[in-house]
């Protein structure tokens, strides 16, 4: 492969920083076209940033990035070349949709690039046959193994015949066999499409050795470029690992030497630290670990190898007592592992796959917490912490937060934490995944030290073959079974393989059987003449519907979300219908009747006879009244003075006392209204009895007509107003989450690097939620009319049309909110804040908009819910239709385009 081709990527003085952290520091570089370019270097040196800038997924801050002959800062050029670039971000299946099947994922990408059905089917069948994925077309992407996920990712990237393929650490965390298959696949594709350029970032030096051209990076800068051979000659080293270390600045290289682990001293009588006998774990039908047995003598470093999901982590969890074995026994120092046995736990140190440190505690606090939990004597803790700090080289960073530290240091801290109580056994689950070679070597030196000097038994799992080679013995595991256990050298010898990796792969291939490891068929991947339009229109219905279809599928596959949305709103309507009850009935009252005459009893009978009040036993005295009101036993107390009856008859002025419990003002107001009304009617009745018709002069009646809700049922008033609340809250929340989820899970990158426009993306995602909300709407109406028997008197079509506009607004609001927030929990809070409060307080739900003051009144007049509440109440209770409600439709019609435009405007088409 010639390296003299013109550059496909030109970088000039490219810098990039996230806050204060500098990721790229004035990088100037030409990357040659038509070859396989590797990018090597430790974590966090700017590899991913550089790749995302080149792919156009990230906005350029300083410097210029020219890709395929144009400036990537220029939107027009970016739009023009985006169909020619394919980008696979870091992480297993980051840009895939876990609940969608292999075929659905591929179809989604095909549609985004404007392929019609025939074209899509042809490409999908070619790609999946070529990658050996064709038997799994209907399996959800989330259920694929790591290696298969990466193959699917590759298929999705290749579906539009890109000229530039960008792969960001495609094989990190993937087992050697899948890794080998992945590279064979890439080789095959390149053989059929020699013009395609590939840029790959990788942490595996043995992979990088096979690339055409390499760039070594460190601390945001490019250290060196050239072919692997050139780099090795320049540094005078024999392999790339060594070459890279030579390239590092001296101060970072430290006193790096190759890890050499001295042979283990065996002292005849072996004591076993760990013994597993027929260990089995089943989850339902699935057997994760199938009769695994091994014995590990004290002080041994025991390596555990296997593909992703083969049961390594599960085995480790059983050994630590985190999981109870379905069958078989695990013994530590001859004692059966028992989750409840605290003493055994104190002898184990465990480091899980994820770095399990408290990010919010400093290094010292982390060590201190663990020391306390392991019950180290208080007085020895400070000394022990100092000792660990010295041994693990943490002294300078004791008061920093782990999050601010590089991965390699964090992992040393994790080990220090696991070692704080000087355990006899260390169980380490992929402790070095994603860590650069220098830090890895340092880590292994510490392990060697612990094993040989302190006699600690170490049980470690890894994907790195050079690490496996350092172990005293290793086990290969596949599909829950141990294939072989022996020393690394013996395994290589037994298999007659050239290296441990070859031996491992050979064992795996035997175990899997020939048909599933069927070689890829690269010939079939021949680039067909593309019929797809390469041009990117302003708005494509196909691309939009592609998102709609995908969103709908995801919604269908996540029953909890859909159920909560539909069932939840009905439950909430039920609760609010009963809960926000403004009918005040069953009020309790009691009387302190100091007169006890016919007339006083007649006065009380008016109150106790009404349907609003329930009479409680009479009050004895003031103290009794105080106590009963405090208890909440009575909300009204009436005192009738002595001689009441006599005074009324004689026309002397008397005073009746009434005390109302003012704790709930609304209830107290109502009580006051009732009591005053009853008092007045009693007076009129009495006046007529006493004075005859003369008393009628000057009297009148008021006919109060409660319109639209003659029985003044709270439900009739509340239900039509609660429906707008629910149709705002839930659809807005769902649509906001749908975008933020993509941000959190990483699939938002598909918006950045495919031809889909922001408007297509937003409307496409909105449509399923509008439909869901309409189903919800119909359900709520049906529920209101049947369960609550709220009469519907107006035009149903009018209400439905209003609801359609309204839920479009609600989902659009969710989308607008989603463009601002980054995390799902923030989206939840934000949406609740921006929908619940304005609807409940300012949209006429309880207090009419006209009665609001100040800012509340302004919000009430702008907020769309106000108008839908009017439409809902108008059609439900007031028998209205379009002609009367036209005024309320206009603001809704205006809001729809404004909100959608806002969403499209604020949504970023590139990451920062």
């Amino acid at each position: 492969m010639s390296v003299s081709e013109p550059a496909i990527v030109r970088l000039e003085a490219v810098s990039h920083a996230y806050g204060k952290t500098v990721a790229l520091d004035a990088v100037t570089l030409d990357i040659p076209a038509g070859c396989m370019v590797g990018m090597i270097g430790p974590d966090g040196v700017g590899k991913s940033t550089l790749l995302s800038l080149v792919s156009g997924a990230r906005a350029i801050k300083t410097g210029s990035v020219l890709v395929l002959g144009g400036d990537m800062a220029d939107v027009k050029h970016r739009n023009a070349v985006c169909p020619r670039i394919a980008y696979m971000p870091q992480g297993l299946g980051r840009n895939l949709y876990a609940t969608l099947s292999v075929r659905e994922n591929l179809e989604f990408f095909g549609r985004l690039f404007g392929h019609d059905k025939a074209e899509r089917d042809r490409r999908i069948s070619e790609l999946t046959r070529g990658t050996g994925l064709d038997p799994f077309l209907d399996r959800p992407a989330g259920k694929l193994s790591g290696g298969m996920k990466q193959k699917l990712g590759l298929c999705c990237a290749l579906i539009h015949d890109p000229d530039l393929l960008i792969l960001d650490e495609p094989t990190t965390g993937v087992d050697p066999l899948s890794r080998r298959q992945f590279w064979e696949l890439i080789e095959g594709i390149r053989a059929t499409r020699p013009t395609m350029s590939v840029i790959v970032a990788t942490a595996y030096m043995e992979e990088a050795a096979r690339f055409d051209w390499l760039m070594a990076m460190n601390a945001g800068k490019v250290l060196a470029t050239g072919t692997p051979a050139e780099l090795m000659t320049r540094t005078g080293t024999a392999d790339l690992d060594a070459a890279f270390i030579e390239l590092l600045p001296v101060e970072e290289r430290g006193d790096h030497t190759k890890v050499v682990i001295p042979p283990r001293q065996t002292d005849g009588a072996q004591a076993f630290a760990i013994e597993a006998e027929g260990l089995t774990m089943r989850f339902g039908d699935f057997t994760a670990v199938d009769h695994v047995s091994f014995r590990i003598p004290r002080g041994e470093i025991f390596g555990f190898l296997g593909s992703n999901g083969c049961g390594k982590t599960t085995t480790m969890k059983m050994l630590t007592g985190l999981l109870a074995a379905t069958e078989g026994t695990a013994k530590l120092f001859g004692n059966t592992v028992n989750a409840a046995d605290m003493e055994v736990r104190r002898r184990i140190g465990y480091m899980s796959q994820a770095f399990s440190l408290y990010g919010e505690l400093t290094v010292r606090q982390n060590l201190d917490l663990h020391a306390c939990l392991f019950r180290l004597p208080k007085e020895t803790i400070p000394a022990r912490i100092e000792e660990m700090a010295a041994r693990f080289d943490l002294a300078g960073i004791m008061d920093e937060l782990p999050e601010a530290l590089p991965l390699g240091v964090r992992q040393r801290l994790s080990l220090a934490v696991a070692m704080i109580h000087a355990p006899d056994i260390l169980i380490l689950d992929e402790p070095t995944s994603g860590v650069d070679p220098v830090a890895r070597d340092d880590f292994w030196k510490i392990l060697a030290d612990l094993s040989r000097k302190d006699g600690v038994t170490i049980f470690v799992s890894t994907h790195f073959m050079n690490e496996a080679a350092l172990c005293d013995r290793i086990s290969l595991m596949h599909a829950g079974k141990v294939l072989i256990s022996d020393t690394p050298a013996a395994i290589v010898e037994k298999r007659g393989a050239a290296s441990l990796e070859d031996a491992f792969i050979a064992y795996l291939q035997d175990a899997i059987g020939p048909e599933t490891v069927r070689a890829a068929e690269p010939a079939s991947l021949e680039a067909a003449p593309s019929t797809a339009p390469k041009r990117r229109g302003i708005f494509s219905l196909r691309r939009m519907l592609s998102y709609t279809r995908r969103e709908a599928l995801e919604l269908k596959r996540d029953p909890i979300r859909a159920t909560l949305a539909i069932l939840g709103s009905v439950i909430l309507l039920f609760v609010m219908g009963y809960g926000i009850n403004l009918d005040v009935e069953n009020l309790t009252f009691a009387v302190l009747d100091r007169d006890d005459s016919t007339i006083s009893r007649d006065y009380v009978a008016d109150i106790s006879g009404s349907r609003y009040f329930i009479e409680k036993p009479p009050i004895l005295d003031y103290a009794d009244m105080d106590r009963r009101m405090q208890e909440g036993d009575i909300s009204l107390a009436i005192e009738i003075p002595p001689g009441f009856g006599r005074d009324v008859t004689h026309g002397n002025t008397v005073e009746v006392g009434a005390w109302i419990d003012g704790a709930m003002p609304t209830r107290a107001e109502t009580v006051r209204g009732y009591v005053e009304g009853m008092h007045k009617s009693w007076l009129t009745r009495k006046a007529r009895e006493l004075y005859g018709d003369e008393a009628i002069k000057g009297t009148y009646t008021v006919a109060a007509r409660y319109r639209y809700n003659p029985d003044i049922r709270s439900l009739v008033a509340m239900v039509p107003a609660v429906i707008p609340l629910l149709l705002m809250l839930i659809p807005a929340m769902l649509s906001a989450l749908s975008v933020v989820r993509e941000k959190e899970l990483g699939s938002i990158v598909n918006l950045y690097v495919t031809p889909v426009t922001r408007l297509e993306f937003l409307i496409g995602k909105q449509i399923p939620y509008i439909l869901l909300a309409m189903v919800n709407f119909l359900l709520l109406i049906a529920f209101a009319m049947t369960a609550f028997s709220v009469p519907f008197t107006g035009s149903f079509i009018t209400l439905t049309a209003g609801a359609f506009l309204y839920v479009t607004i609600a989902t659009a609001m969710g989308l607008v909110i989603s463009t601002f927030v980054q995390s799902q929990i923030a989206a939840l809070f934000g949406t609740a804040l921006l929908t619940l409060i304005p609807v409940v307080q300012y949209s006429g739900l309880i207090d009419p908009v006209t009665s609001l003051k100040g800012a509340g009144a302004v919000i009430g007049n702008i907020y769309p819910a106000t108008y839908f509440v009017t439409i809902s109440r108008g059609t439900f209770s007031k028998a209205l239709d379009f002609t009367n409600l036209a005024g309320s439709f206009i603001p809704l019609l205006i809001a729809v385009p404004i909100l959608i435009a806002m969403g499209a405007l604020f949504l970023r088409k590139q990451a920062n």
């Binding site: 770095f355 399990s356 109502t670 003051k853 509340g856």
Partner: protein, 370 residues
């Protein structure tokens, strides 16, 4: 179970919380600004009610009635014709329309008992009742004053003296501030403990804890006490600082007694938070669950609307919810100045519900860790 582990782990939770500035700001906001704005924005029961008058009488008396409605209770009345009335009410422009019939004054004085018609938009429940009362009172006093001059002493001289206890002005902002504080206690305690547990699982640190000599009960209790303490401190500050201080609400009872009740309540709600977190698979599901559980708890506990107006079955079911007892206890102590002698049944109920919930949550939590 070891107390020192519970304390150490709890301190870890507090340290973690102190680093989460966003969450701290949220707590601060919830217990200060939010309570203050909510309380001061509560409209009085009748404010700017839209009223229209159809004056078919055009007499001095009808003119007198029409001019008796003024702000802030009512908007300046619109004088409209009979034909306009229905249309305006349909469109929601008027909440009340008072129709004074032709010859009202003449019929009144002649003892023919004329009828005024008051149309009320009953879809606006909150105004309908109190507005009706106010309007009738206003009309009544205008008419009485008018007819007094022409009438002999035919009245029954019984006066009704109405007094509202505990909150003589029936100020809604008093009520709002305390009710809001009570409901914030529930919301925040559930969110804090639940989110703390989910965060710990999402970061993988819970697994790490379990390989240490720490039992699930210790982990759970550490979260319960630390997050409960945070909410309790925030509640105390809100009551002393915002409710008593800024809003100068006259709290009747003993705040320490209320806080003791709140501590019992927090025991129950933090356990509930743990339980919800074990049910939810992820943060978004937790959020959805929260909405579903919190809203009914808040709405039906009796803080928003009186318990006695809810259907009997709901009243009975809600006796199992800690909120119900907490609201009863809070209202009794803070509004009515009740002492332990009166609220002990609620204390007992909260202790029982808290113990049951925490045992249940612990069992779920143990299964969840497997």
């Amino acid at each position: 179970m070891r107390l020192s582990n519970v304390i150490e782990l709890g301190i870890k939770e507090l340290r973690g919380l102190s680093r989460d500035h966003m969450l701290l700001a949220l707590i601060l906001y919830a217990f200060t600004v939010s309570i203050y704005t909510y309380a001061s924005a509560m409209p009085e029961s009748l404010n700017n009610a839209a009223i229209a008058i159809v004056d078919e009488d055009q007499s001095p008396l009808s003119g007198r009635i029409a001019s008796a409605f003024y702000e802030p209770y009512f908007m300046t009345p619109k004088m409209i014709s009979v034909t306009e009335m229905d249309k305006r009410m349909d469109a929601g422009l008027d909440a009340f329309a008072l129709d004074i019939p032709p010859d009202f004054q003449r019929d009144l004085m002649a003892g023919r008992v004329p009828e005024l018609q008051l149309n009320i938009d009953a879809t606006r429940m909150s105004q309908a009742f109190s507005g009706n009362g106010y309007i009738q009172q206003i009309v009544d006093s205008e008419i009485n004053e008018y007819v007094k001059r022409y009438r002999a002493a035919t009245e029954v001289p019984v006066n009704l003296t109405l007094r509202a206890r505990y909150n003589p002005e029936l100020s809604k902002s008093w009520f709002g501030s305390i009710t809001d504080t009570i409901s914030k206690v529930t919301i925040l305690s559930i969110i804090l403990t639940g989110a703390a547990l989910i965060r710990e699982r999402e970061h993988g640190t819970i697994e790490h804890l379990l390989v240490m000599p720490v039992t699930p009960a210790e982990i759970m209790l550490s979260k319960v006490w630390s997050m409960g303490a945070v909410v309790l401190v925030a509640t105390g500050c809100a009551l002393y600082g915002v409710v008593q201080g800024l809003l100068s609400v006259d709290i009747q009872g003993s705040i320490p007694l209320f806080l003791a009740g709140a501590a019992l309540h927090l025991f129950a709600t933090t356990s509930l938070g743990i339980f919800l977190a074990t049910v939810a698979g992820s943060m978004p599901q937790f959020g959805m669950l929260l909405v579903l559980v919190l809203l009914p708890l808040e709405v039906l506990a009796g803080g928003m609307t009186p318990r006695e107006s809810m259907p009997q079955i709901i009243q009975t079911i809600m006796l199992a919810a800690p909120n119900t007892h907490f609201v009863i206890l809070g209202q009794a102590i803070l509004f009515r100045g009740a002492g332990l002698g009166i609220v002990w049944p609620q204390f007992l109920a909260l202790a029982a519900i808290g113990s049951a919930l925490s045992l249940f949550a612990l069992r779920r939590f143990r299964d969840f860790l497997r």
